[in-house]
């Protein structure tokens, strides 16, 4: 579980920085919050009960919501001014898809 948390914390962290570097500051900050969800799972939640799987579960839901929004936004834009997917968008959506799979797997721990 630590490896999963670590990988997603780093991936989303890098993607957040890339978004900010491309000028999409608020979206980048949101992706950094997502990275923090995984990173706090590694740290044991600063003294609270440590449930790393909970962070994988919640992180996956958060990432899916954000990626879903991204897809919807780009698709709907074809009604007027198409925005198109950038390279970083595609990377973010793929990472989120993996995060969703990890989340579904983590949810089994709580059933």
């Amino acid at each position: 579980m630590r490896a999963v948390l670590g990988v997603f914390a780093v991936l989303f962290g890098l993607e957040g920085i890339l978004y900010i570097a491309h000028g999409d500051v608020l979206w980048g900050l949101m992706v950094l919050v997502l990275s923090a969800v995984y990173a706090f799972g590694l740290e044991g939640g600063m003294g609270r009960d440590w449930h790393p799987a909970a962070h994988v579960l919640a992180g996956g839901i958060f990432a899916t919501a954000a990626a879903g929004f991204e897809i919807l936004d780009k698709l709907v834009s074809y009604l007027s001014e198409p925005k198109g997917f950038s390279g970083i968008d595609v990377v973010f959506i793929i990472t989120s898809a993996f995060a969703l799979m990890a989340s579904l797997s983590a949810s089994k721990e709580f059933e």
């Binding site: 608020l26 939640g45 962070h55 958060f62 007027s80 001014e81």
Partner: protein, 646 residues
Amino acid sequence: MSTLKVVALVGNPNVGKSSLFNAITGARQYVANWPGVTVARKEGVRIWRGREIKLVDLPGIYSLGAISIDERITRDYLLHESPDVVVVIVDALNMEQGLYLLIEVLEMRGNVVLAINAIDEARKRGIRIDRYEIEKHFGVHTVLTSAVTGEGIEELLDTILHVMDSKEVHSLVKLTYQPEVEERIREIEEIVKKIPRLSSYKPRWLAVKFLEGDEQVSRMLEEEGIKPLSEDEAKRFKELIAARRYEYIDAVLREAVRGEGRKMTVSDAIDHVMTHRFLGIPIFLSMMYLTFKFTFDVMSPFSDLIDQGMSRLGEWLSSIMGEGWVTSLVVDGVIGGVGAVLVFVPNIFGMFLALGFLEEVGYLPRAAFVIDRIMYKLKLSGRSFMSLILGFGCNVPAVMSTRGISDHRERLITILVSPFITCSARLPVYIMLASIFFKGHEAIVIFAMYVSSIALTAISATILNRILFKGEPVPLVMELPRYRLPTLKNLGLYVWERGKHFLQKAGTIILVASILIWILGSFPEEGSGSYAAALGKFFEPLFRPLGYDWRMVTALIFGMAAKEVVVSTFEMMYGDPAAVLPQVINPAVALSFMFFVMAYIPCFATIAVIASEAGGWKWALLSMTYSFTIAYIISLLVSVLGGMVV
């Protein structure tokens, strides 16, 4: 021929009461107000087995203590309007508090049916509920239901009819309290039975409530000569009664509920992160950001389509009607004014869709829980936050919903700061100006406006706390509902109930205002010689330091009727604001104007409701003066500081 029978739905907040109400009544429901107050009263009708049943959805409460307005409404309704049957709804996953309420209802009256809702969720967790055990101990007909899957709804309706038609009075089980409590109950009952004025109440209920220290009942009985309890006695009896009820409920649940594990559930696991000490606030801000990005970015293409449609309609009408003042009234006044506001319908419905999703999924109560830590420092609580968040839709229900706040000081502060929360009527103004002056960054600007409005609300609450009202907040105790997937029906109803208000306004206030503005803007001569121009120019000197021209001032004045009217006025005064405005003002002044609209005098409807809810026009006047002053100071700062940058 059968007469209309009335069924009241009672339950704790977040047990799925409204979902069950929706599942039973479908679209056959309507909303009115409770007599004398402005708390929404939801009613619906269901025809079942050829019989017409009226259902009344009572406000969600934890007890019948008559402390908050919601509790008082529910109690008064059950006591004085005597519905034929009362359905008490409890959550299958958290029955204890709901059964406490059931005991209180049973002590008050008969003909009660118990609905244990969310049974599908309970089964998923391996929880088995023996409803016959519960029926045996509480003496009520019990039905297992799920508002989501529809399970048990038909059986519930059959049970309601059975209890209605039965000659005997159902549900009269008597919970026996400790001997010393029972002795006092008997004494009081004996006295109460001899008082004709109290004959409509159950003597045992009056006695128990008296011993619990219920203010209303104590006053009634003391007027009849019953000796009041000492403070120590009242405290002891209250504790004894509550302890006995919980003891009884625990004993019944031990018999009736099987398979409940202590393991962390999916809902607990998500909460572990969502309500995290450090992550909770950033996650909340992220959710709000997504909400407003959805409101603007995803919905804008739909707004563009309506905009194009309105333009074509105007062109078509001009071509068939020819020139003249009637054409101008229809095209520039009605289509220009109302159409300018209708363009934002997708954005407003989009915002309600996003907020409705967050509420239905169960996130908003978590947000209140997370925000409570900050609110507590401002001497408010998460309850205030729940009221304030309603203000994103409309400030009127936000002010009204403060009735659920039992602490008077906290309630008054929440009422006075509510207008600073950006309501949906202000959104069109933000979108219009952001689209013209901050193209490509609209979502960020609008999100910043919302964050600023929350910050202003928080700062105002602190100021009011320090200056006008001093006191400590009542700690927030709330049950967090489970996370659940929203149903399309509930989400649709949520969006429609809130969004239709905007459409109604477009067809009434905004239509009338548009015609009025057209008349004032066209006579005695069009443009700067009109009455509207005279009005704007009269107040213009006051706004000159902010950089506003007379047309903007006129828009602010008309915007007091409803904030959307600012957009209509711009459309009529500038013709094509997107082309004209950048030549008149710079982005700093546009931003300053957005801040002014965010904070200045609430609309007439909000002012009226502040006066009625806060207890007098002095509070409404205070709100108007305070908000205008704050708006002026902030906008001046933005204009001056922004002007240095631009």
